[in-house]
């Protein structure tokens, strides 16, 4: 046997072996003992928490992730009636109405709902979806920059159009980025359907810069993020209220305060929901899984796994959130139906106003 043919044989054997091994490791199909959770890429739960549920309920949990939040919802809509799993996690209030109109979910009132504030329960009458977490999209500022320049950081939407903040803000494209869209929706909530375009004209005149993704805005342009290594040129960025705690995580010794702060008057609240998918192969298991997602154990696991706030008021929030995070008193909100009805038109208007 020549060297090359031995290499061939070895390569083929290795490839087949790897394929077979990986194939064996693949989870089995749906059955009464398996419950499937469909979600977006950001879904995460720590192993012991999930294992405890599996042990206690007797179900094996299979998690399917499909792209970012918007794509995951669109995938669920495309496979409506023949869903890929039993429970969907992660449809937020900007997409909720689309999902409800399409009839994605079966009603189910999860255990523990009484601990969730009424303000988060957007489908209170029918319980087709259950609020599971929330977070705010706000302008973040680089503390160092404003201290060095002896300027007070902005607090509100109105501040952002003041001359002293000219050319400091970077935000994301509403058409391609969910924080970008949330920020735009925040301005719609603040200035009304008739006023938001006027506000954006002023914001544009004040030198707002738009990039395509949060990654670019935050990791590359924002001077306050560690990832930009001090090379970012914008001390203001549209990001999450939980970004300052994220900047601190893993830092030793723990700093006195986070290097970045949150402009608390520029926030738009995103609420994430879960629901039992209509036509779920394992409805009973799905209900148990929804109960688990609203259980205190899972809710207390959420903050450090996904950087969101638990929906339950009695779930403890880790110290890094309370110490370095901001409390958002009055975030902007819009009714999900209003968002669904106007979303595409608003994005189009925004694009021609700001990008051209």
């Amino acid at each position: 046997m020549s060297t090359t043919s031995r290499i061939t044989a070895a390569a083929v054997a290795a490839a087949l072996g790897a394929a077979a091994l990986a194939g064996c490791g693949a989870p089995g199909g749906a059955d009464a003992k398996t419950v499937t959770l469909v979600s977006h890429d950001s879904f995460s739960v720590s192993k012991p928490v999930l294992a405890a549920f599996e042990k206690q309920s007797g179900y094996k949990v299979r998690v399917l992730k499909g792209g970012d939040a918007g794509k995951a919802v669109n995938q669920a809509i495309l496979s409506k009636g023949n869903p890929q799993g039993d429970v969907f996690f992660g449809i937020d209030n900007t997409l909720l109405s689309r999902g409800l109109d399409e009839g994605l979910f079966s009603p189910y009132e999860a255990k523990g709902l009484e601990h969730v504030p009424a303000g988060l329960q957007l489908d209170k009458a029918r319980h087709r979806v259950t609020p599971l977490d929330y977070g705010d999209i706000c302008v973040n500022y680089d503390r160092g920059y404003f201290a060095r320049h002896k300027i007070a950081p902005p607090k509100t939407f109105d501040d952002l159009i003041k001359p002293r903040y000219k050319g400091l803000l970077v935000t994301e494209n509403s058409a391609t980025s969910s924080p970008g869209l949330a920020f735009q929706l925040g301005t719609v909530a603040a200035y009304g359907k008739g006023g938001w375009q006027g506000y954006w004209k002023k914001l544009k005149a004040n030198g707002v810069e738009v990039v395509d993704s949060w990654e670019q805005a935050y990791n590359q342009r924002f001077s306050g993020s560690a990832a930009s290594k001090g090379k970012g040129d914008k001390p203001l960025v549209v990001s999450y209220a939980s970004s300052p705690p994220a900047e601190v995580l893993g830092k030793k010794p723990a700093p006195r305060q986070a290097p970045t702060g949150v402009a608390t008057g520029t926030c738009f609240r995103q609420i994430e929901f879960g629901g039992l998918l209509k036509g779920a192969p394992n409805e009973k298991g799905g209900k148990a899984l929804l109960d688990f997602l609203l259980s205190k154990r899972f809710q207390e696991d959420e903050p450090l796994q996904m950087f969101v706030h638990p929906a339950r008021t009695d779930a403890a929030v880790p110290e890094v959130f309370t110490k370095y995070g901001a409390t958002i008193g009055k975030p902007a909100t819009l009714a999900p139906e209003t968002i669904t009805r106007n979303r595409e038109q608003w994005i189009k208007q925004w694009s021609s106003l700001v990008l051209k």
Partner: protein
């Protein structure tokens, strides 16, 4: 027997490409069972869409021209000069081609973006300018030109040009009258491939272009994944389909012309050390271009992965092994993505090699060639069309395929939506064209008479294939497998759209890490990108060792 061989690739493409794509386009263009062809007028009449179409064509043409301008001297250098480290360098220039766009986009931003290396040194910034897109396209496609054109150039007999000079032609005239006509079809084929790749460019435009630049592929992605506007996406998909089909048809035609008889010699005999100042300058110029355009972004990537919070260290690499350090981005350690990628890649390679190898075998069966009358039989034309069809997955948006899988492969026994196999199948779709392109020239070069002699001596067709063809094509087969493997490793688009159990591949893991705040996540993304780069480069280096002397593949 011919049909039998054809059945496997045909079934593969029908089931995993044609059916899903037709399903999703069909859903977009029908409404309550009626076709809505009026959509075409509506969509194409939209000035925004018209702008997208214009930009798509314009940037592809400009990228192609720039790539040829920069890479043709490189092709000459690789073909004609002998210099230390040539083998290694040939592999290095091919690395960008298989890198995922997420990684390349980030590397380019780190180099030429705001606050990047060039910005620090000379205040040069290219982000959100069309130059960043064009240069990234050159970065990706340099190897396509060097390999396609350089491969042939190296085998052209230099004595023909020398003969022309002896007969009194000037240096330029000799080159223009002798070398250029011989090289022309290869240049055209390379240009068309670059045009195809840049016409369907997605990641580069999205990351480097900023919100103002959008190509057809980006628009299809937005309309499908973000807006779920399937009618608009369907129209755009068909427009892109038609354009790609056109480019491929022209490409197939130029490739056929290239098969005209050229007197080829062993490439190792034509390359020699550069002589004289001009040749040395050309060599050093090419090396400088490679250093600046191809190596610098990769070096910046490496630098970033070691730039820890307290100076240079391997902290991002060591932390890849534990799930805890990822701060909840993964339920498993990021390093597991490497093993996922290798397993998916191995399975995709097996599929791609089987499907692509059989397809290439069918395309080169002797009886399909032109008969003595010079007429092309119907089946032969069909097979030739099949050749073009095999390339189509390169021109169809990954999101179309991904969402197509979702709505078409959803009923037992073919409910593959959450199956482990869906990812390697999607990756194999991209790998097959490369396998076919690598195998075809070699298979075509096998002398039919050898096979006939074996048959006359009593060998069965299987035995003739095993004893004659296999030994001759084994190396090409390995190279094809290596290419398919590398391409599978880097595949990002289709993989990310498939809802799957949490087994992220390397590119998906990188994208996910980049999507999180914090220095650790960013550093780990850079470290994982480097691992991916090393694996791809390793695969390509192995290929270089296996590269047969007479190999002139089309990539």
């Amino acid at each position: 027997m011919r049909l039998g061989l054809l059945a496997v690739p045909l079934a593969f493409f029908a089931l995993f490409f044609a059916y899903p794509v037709v399903a999703i386009v069909g859903r977009g263009l029908t409404d309550g069972g009626h076709w809505q062809f009026g959509r075409f007028g509506e969509v194409l009449g939209d000035p925004d869409i018209a702008h997208v179409l214009w930009f798509t064509v314009w940037q592809a043409a400009a990228s192609t021209a720039l790539t040829l301008l920069i890479a043709l001297p490189g092709a000459y250098v690789f073909a004609r000069f002998e210099f230390p480290g040539k083998q290694l360098l040939r592999a290095v220039v091919a690395v960008p081609f298989v890198l995922p766009t997420v990684v390349v986009g980030t590397a380019f931003l780190a180099l030429a973006g705001r606050g990047g290396l060039l910005d620090e040194l000379w205040g040069v910034r290219l982000d959100t300018s069309v130059w960043a897109i064009l240069l990234a396209h050159v970065f990706f496609n340099y190897a396509v030109v060097v390999r396609t054109v350089g491969g042939l150039w190296g085998q052209l007999d230099p004595r023909q040009e020398e003969a022309a000079r002896v007969l009194g032609a000037g240096r330029l005239a000799a080159w223009r009258r002798v070398t250029l006509p011989a090289l022309g079809p290869a240049v055209a084929a390379a240009a068309l491939m670059v045009f195809l790749f840049t016409f369907t460019s997605f990641g580069v435009v999205q990351i480097l272009g900023g919100p103002t630049f959008s190509t057809l592929e980006v628009e299809i992605y937005r309309q499908t994944a973000d807006f779920l506007d399937l009618p608009t996406a369907a129209v755009l998909t068909l427009v892109q389909f038609a354009a790609v089909l056109g480019v491929l048809a022209v490409h197939a035609w130029t490739v056929r012309r290239r098969e005209s008889a050229l007197r080829l010699v062993d490439a190792s005999r034509t390359a020699r050390r550069p002589r004289g100042g001009g040749q040395w300058a050309l060599l050093w110029g090419t090396l400088a271009v490679i250093a600046v355009l191809l190596l610098a972004p990769l070096v910046v990537l490496v630098e970033r992965s070691f730039a820890g919070p307290d100076g240079y260290s391997t902290v991002f690499y060591t932390s890849l092994r534990s799930a805890a350090s990822a701060e909840g981005t993964f339920s498993v350690a990021p390093l597991d993505a490497l093993w996922n990628s290798l397993a998916y890649g191995a399975a995709a390679t097996v599929i791609a090699v089987v499907v692509g190898g059989l397809a290439a075998a069918v395309l080169t069966l002797p009886r399909l060639r032109r008969g003595p009358s010079g007429r092309t039989p119907a089946i032969s034309r069909f097979v030739r069309g099949f050749d073009v069809l095999l390339m189509l997955p390169l021109g169809v948006s990954a999101v179309t395929v991904g969402f197509g899988f979702l709505i078409s492969l959803d009923t037992p026994p073919l409910d593959l939506r959450a199956s482990w196999w869906l990812v390697p199948l999607a990756q194999a779709l991209v790998g097959v064209p490369f396998v076919v392109r690598t195998m075809l020239p070699v298979l075509r070069a096998v002398d039919v008479r050898l096979r006939e002699a074996a048959a006359v001596l009593g060998a069965s067709p299987w035995r003739a294939w095993r004893e004659v063809d296999l030994p001759l094509v084994r190396r090409a087969l390995l190279i094809a497998a290596g290419f398919a493997f590398a391409v599978s490793l880097g595949e990002f688009g289709a993989t990310v759209f498939i809802a799957r159990p949490d087994r992220p591949t390397l590119p998906v893991a990188v994208a996910r890490l980049l999507g999180r705040a914090g220095e650790t996540n960013y550093g780990q993304a850079m470290a994982l990108s480097n691992l991916l780069m090393v694996v791809c480069a390793g695969a390509l280096l192995v290929l270089e060792r296996l590269r047969p002397a007479d190999h002139s593949g089309e990539f």
